[in-house]
């Protein structure tokens, strides 16, 4: 089987602890005078299947964008693989699947294969032609997400769930060590969601990929992930999902500022 996770050659180990891939230290962010995030402390360890949950407007996407270096924190610092985010250069280690709605224009004339291949470009850099190895990786990524037979189709002709899979394949094509997904199941039907979470579990368990999932769907997420971050402008919980479940009512009540009835989702 292909080992998609193929780390970059490491320069000197700077931070000591190799297993911390992403770390936020006392990160705050202000948007229009209002504190959107305050004093966030966060560590993402290799192998985590982490859910970041919180209500709409809780700053989840802001946090994600800061972890990805797309937004600069007001206070505090973000470290990626031990390097401060400004100095970090090994961007292909990070795979990112943004919210679908803002991700692309469905009329874009691109086939599934072309879209997935684009995900390899970070590895290839500015120059370099498509070679046999690239083609193999793209084909393998398509197979991994079960979209091989759609390779020649226009991306806009697929269903929401299928497009989501293609974007995961695109992220995998860069051979990342961590995969970030922002609200990935919005607009995806229930059956496809089930397949989608199984795929993420497979990537996490069998391929050792670290997965970070941002979602407002608390019920589903807590059934799937092994670690959880509860966020509503500040952290209300960060740890093993078991620890969350033990005090879930209390944590959610604090996070929302009022008692919350959990909707239980059952999986087969």
């Amino acid at each position: 089987m292909l080992n998609i996770v193929r780390p970059f050659k490491r320069e000197k180990d700077r931070n000591g602890d190799e297993s911390i891939l992403v770390e936020a230290r006392h990160v705050s962010f202000r948007y229009d005078q209002r504190e959107t995030l305050s004093d966030i402390e966060l560590k993402i360890i290799r192998g985590d299947f982490l859910g970041i949950i919180g209500p709409n407007g809780s700053g989840k996407s802001t946090l994600l964008r800061m972890l990805l270096g797309l937004l600069r924190p007001e206070k505090g610092e973000v470290f990626l693989w031990g390097d401060p985010v400004d100095k970090f250069r090994r961007w292909p280690l990070i795979g990112y699947v943004p919210q679908k709605a803002i991700a692309f224009n469905t009329a874009f004339p691109a086939t599934v294969w072309e879209v997935v291949y684009a995900g390899r470009l970070g590895r290839k850099g500015l120059f370099g032609w498509k070679n046999h190895h690239d083609k193999e990786i793209v084909d393998e990524c398509l197979e991994k997400v079960g979209m091989t037979k759609y390779a020649g189709q226009l991306i806009g002709n697929l269903s929401g769930g299928q497009q989501q899979r293609v974007f995961i394949a695109q992220a995998l094509a860069g051979e990342p060590e961590i995969l970030f997904l922002d609200e990935p199941t919005v607009g995806v039907d229930a059956e496809q969601q089930e397949l989608f979470y199984s795929l993420l579990e497979d990537l996490n368990h069998n391929m050792g990929l670290t997965v970070v999932l941002v979602s407002h769907d608390i019920g589903v997420i807590t059934e799937r992930v092994n670690k959880l971050v509860c966020l509503n402008r500040r952290l209300f919980f960060h740890g093993e999902v078991g620890g969350f479940k033990a005090r879930q009512t209390e944590i959610l009540a604090k996070m929302y500022g009022h008692p919350v009835q959990m909707v239980q989702h059952h999986h087969h």
């Binding site: 943004p98 224009n105 004339p109 691109a110 684009a118 470009l121 970070g122 500015l126 120059f127 498509k130």
Partner: protein
């Protein structure tokens, strides 16, 4: 036969065809990326800045296309900067530069006073006007476009598809944008001689618009746009020669005609084609709906 051989005995027609075919290759190659990045109007802006350049060239006795190129290169650098400060209203920057270019052109022309017939050949394009120097410049631009697009094709694809993802993957998005803008300036300045300043931007957009109607992949969109452009340039130049029409106008009208025909044929095709097997709902899917 029908005057074709006679036509190519005129040196100016040979030059016009050479120039036209090069224009047909370079315009949609850049145009495709501009259209997909929602920058269709950038061609208009650059061409209006070029107008100021042409006027300046005439005034100061410099080869006008060269002056046009200088002006538009300066402008695209400014444009990219302004576009960054109005990220959500990218079209503001194009509007500002477009009107600024026209205003400057009008001022320069009013200082020069006697350039009216010359400027008209630049505005509307001319077959007779294409000279050896224009051809040399066009070939150089053609070579640059082919080399740059040839080597960065997939990178431009990625920034057009998702600028954010491209940036996150570590590609130098700002630099790539700038390269694309500079190429656009080169293409406009070198193409305007034959198609005309007022119409050059339509060569960036119309063949691409037609190709997007039917392309089934990005690669296909790229090649189809060139096929559309080559067809309209060839037919347009023939029409211009035999019917004595302005070349820019006939080329662009033909491109527009091809676009409309493509849309109509596509509509008719979608309506008339028999339902293909894979489009039919399977019994299982039907059962699910009911």
């Amino acid at each position: 036969m029908f005057g074709f051989t006679e036509m190519f005995q005129h040196d100016f027609m040979v030059r016009a065809f050479l120039a036209g075919l090069m224009v047909a290759v370079i315009c949609p190659s850049i145009g495709l990326f501009l259209v997909l990045r929602r920058l269709s109007l950038i061609g208009d802006t650059i061409s209006h800045i070029s107008l100021a350049g042409v006027a300046g060239g005439m005034l100061w006795g410099v080869y006008p296309p060269l002056m046009a190129l200088t002006f538009s290169l300066i402008a695209v650098l400014g444009l990219e900067k302004l576009r960054r400060s109005y990220q959500n209203y990218a079209e503001i920057s194009t509007a500002v530069f477009l009107s600024g270019g026209v205003a400057l052109a009008v001022i320069l022309l009013s200082v020069k006073k006697s350039a009216s017939s010359d400027i008209i050949s630049y505005l509307f394009g001319s077959i007779i006007a294409v000279n050896r120097q224009d051809l040399v410049i066009l070939s150089a631009v053609l070579a640059i476009v082919l080399i740059v697009i040839g080597s960065l094709y997939h990178r431009f694809f990625y920034i057009s598809f998702s600028e954010e993802k491209a940036q996150l993957s570590g590609l130098p998005v700002y630099g790539l944008n700038l390269v694309l803008m500079v190429l656009a300036a080169l293409v406009v300045a070198s193409s305007m001689r034959i198609v005309g300043i007022l119409l050059v931007s339509s060569m960036l957009v119309l063949p691409v618009a037609a190709s997007l109607q039917i392309a089934r992949s990005f690669r296909e969109a790229f090649w189809l746009a060139q096929a559309y452009a080559l067809t309209s340039v060839t037919a347009g130049l023939l029409a211009s020669y035999f019917l004595d029409l302005a070349p820019g106008g006939s080329i662009v009208l033909l491109a527009a005609f091809l676009l409309v025909s493509t849309i109509l044929v596509k509509k008719a095709w979608l309506r008339l084609r028999p339902l293909r097997a894979k489009d039919r709902l399977s019994a299982k899917e039907l059962a699910k709906i009911q």
